[in-house]
């Protein structure tokens, strides 16, 4: 793989130093060859295999796939399946709502860490945010299950305080699913937002107030637009894995926590219909990809508009910031 590149490198000998640098730069792209080969072998090819399966069919009770007749029938089966779409819609709702709630909770926390805390305590809080994450997510979810059980201690305390008549009915509800989701994905939202806020040039905020803006306009015109990259990263880091997750919702939600990932898994684990399962998996993936691309585009558009707005308020600072 490296040969065509190497051959292409007759460096025009201008000067000793520049030649050396140039040569180095040419060769350096081959450093990416191992990961390219690796991803080809364990990402592209396996993906190609299920893509191939998705055009086949399930031949018999115990056969998993057969590609002797190729068709789009499995996709028709996926798109014609009302149950798949009902669960898909629910998964989408849980993921979008979960990402949004996570954002609302995480943003002030990240802001607190980046703006209010001293650099020293910031580090401590950063470690504190990460420590729970060092416990397996199943175990953490179980912690909630124990706490929120109708005979659990929260239920008993609330009843003793007279805030609740009868046991707590929280597990196995949509709210329980959302709680588990928000909890488990919260650090993935806090961290990227914190990082962008930490790198934010707070002088912009000062400048805004010098120009007569109040705290709210400072936040809306400066802080929020400039933290958009972090928000975008956080939303993606929560949304994408959530679309495929089915374990957190199931533990806390019971039948309320059925996610589309479970349907895909059941085609492989229970029905042993690799053809249909592959078609479902590919549909899911293409959908997520579409959401990511479209929302990235919207987000970038938003940032651009916000920046334009900023330029009007703070013309000299934008220049200075660069």
């Amino acid at each position: 793989m490296s040969h065509p590149i190497a051959i292409e490198v007759p460096p025009p000998p201008l000067e000793r130093r520049r030649r050396g640098t140039k040569k180095f730069r040419w060769r350096i792209s081959t450093l990416a060859a191992p990961i390219a080969a690796y991803l080809f072998l364990f990402f592209i090819v396996p993906f190609g295999v299920i893509l191939w399966y998705s055009f086949g069919f399930k031949p018999s009770l115990y056969g998993t796939h057969d590609n002797s007749v190729l068709s789009f029938d499995r996709y028709a089966e996926v798109f014609g399946n009302a149950d798949f779409f009902a669960i898909f819609g629910k998964t989408l709702w849980i993921s979008i709502f979960g990402a949004a709630v996570t954002l609302l909770i995480a943003y002030p926390v990240a802001y607190w860490m980046a703006k209010i805390l001293t650099p020293r305590s910031r580090n401590i809080v950063l470690v504190l945010v990460l420590i729970p994450y060092w416990t397996n997510f199943l175990i953490r979810t179980l912690g909630w299950q124990i706490a929120l059980n109708q005979n659990g201690f929260i239920s008993r305390i609330l009843q003793d305080l007279g805030l609740l008549n009868g046991p707590l009915e929280f597990l196995y509800t949509n709210q329980a699913v959302q709680l588990g989701v928000v909890y488990n994905y919260l650090p993935l939202m806090i961290l990227p937002i914190y990082v962008t806020l930490e790198q934010l040039d707070w002088r912009l905020l000062e400048a805004n107030s010098d120009l007569g803006g109040n705290a709210i306009s400072g936040f809306l015109r400066v802080t929020l637009p400039l933290s958009m990259p972090g928000i975008g990263a956080g939303l993606m880091l929560v949304f994408v894995p959530l679309m495929g997750d089915y374990i957190t919702p199931e533990i806390l939600g019971g039948t309320k926590g059925t996610m589309v990932g479970q349907l895909v898994a059941s085609q492989f684990k229970t029905a042993q219909n690799w053809a249909l399962g592959s078609a479902m998996a590919i549909t899911l993936m293409l959908f997520i990809l579409a959401v990511v691309v479209v929302s990235t585009w919207i987000l970038r558009l938003g940032v651009r508009i916000a920046k334009r707005a900023n330029r009007i308020v703070l013309p000299e600072l934008v220049i200075e910031g660069k």
């Binding site: 640098t21 792209s29 995480a106 002030p108 199943l138 912690g143 124990i146 492989f268």
Partner: protein
């Protein structure tokens, strides 16, 4: 590009009129932040408390006992999955660090390649692929490789876990390292070149030490991700290679014993202990070679 120095000098300048609402806002943020931390810690504390449960069921509190801890460190059926997880996580971290570091350097430094942008797109695709899709596509592929093509290494559970876990992680490391390399001062390398160092020497003596922190933090992240991986692991694992999360997941569905909470608590303590020890060592080391550290920080941001 602007750095910490400005920010800290900034905080010294008082803003006059709007003090009161700003203060109220600060208090609100403090409250929110602390509640947020408590929220994050709450279930972990519950698990730690219940790990001392003397009963047979984790969820049903019977009384205080240290027995779960004794069981956790003596029962092979609990220790084995923890060992599998650690081996898979170590392998995945190393593999991701190596692949990702090379790729990150290439992406940051090579401008004229035609295929690297395609690689970036591919890495992006890897990152937005849900775990379940990777799981269902890798399983038949491993069987094909191991059984039909005779690469028996892919019949090994740990190998499968390492490969499966490092797909996502290596993409993460690539981007971490790329960001780091992009932020490096190219003059350093050029200076080395002026001093007559050949490209390889320059890479080993100058570039590599500078990107090591990014590579290692990426590896650390891979390690953590691998330890949590459940969906993919349960699909591709073979006998003898059930990882800790897969074991816990199976227990969730049948009977959860307090030993599981005890083991989790031990793992958490172990992690914190390692972090503290290394932090102490690092602080001491940076005191001895203080100059290095200052150099490093001046190049960051």
């Amino acid at each position: 590009m602007t750095t910490v120095g400005i920010e800290s000098s900034q905080s010294g300048i008082p803003t006059q009129e709007r003090r009161a609402p700003v203060k109220a806002g600060k208090v609100a943020l403090w409250i929110w932040g602390i509640i947020g931390l408590l929220f994050l810690f709450f279930p972990v504390l519950v698990i730690i408390a219940y790990s001392f449960n003397s009963g047979n069921n984790l969820q049903i509190w019977e009384g205080f006992s240290l027995q779960p801890y004794l069981n956790a460190i003596s029962r092979p059926d609990l220790l084995a999955p923890v060992g599998v997880s650690f081996r898979a996580a170590t392998g995945s971290a190393l593999l991701s660090a190596i692949l990702g570091t090379f790729a990150g350097i290439a992406l940051a430094r090579s401008q004229k390649s035609r295929w690297l942008p395609a690689l970036v797109g591919l890495l992006g695709l890897v990152m937005v692929t849900p775990e379940i899709v990777n799981a269902v596509s890798l399983l038949p592929w491993f069987v094909t490789l191991g059984k039909d093509m005779g690469f028996v290494i892919f019949n090994d559970g740990i190998v499968r876990l390492v490969v499966g876990h490092s797909l996502f992680s290596s993409a993460v490391v690539t981007f971490v390292v790329r960001a780091r390399v992009a932020g490096l001062n190219p003059q350093l390398e050029e200076a080395a070149a002026d001093l007559g160092a050949n490209p390889l020497r320059r890479f080993i003596d100058v570039t590599l030490p500078l990107i090591a922190p990014a590579a290692v933090s990426g590896a650390l992240l891979s390690f953590t991700l691998s330890l949590d991986n459940t969906v993919l692991s349960s699909f591709i694992s073979v006998a003898n290679s059930n990882s800790w999360p897969v074991y816990v997941w199976a227990s969730v569905k049948s009977t959860l014993r307090p030993e599981i909470a005890a083991m989790s608590t031990l793992l958490l303590l172990f992690t914190i202990l390692v972090l503290v020890i290394v932090a102490l060592v690092l602080v001491r080391a940076s005191k001895r070679t203080g100059g290095d550290d200052a150099n490093l920080s001046s190049m960051l941001g």
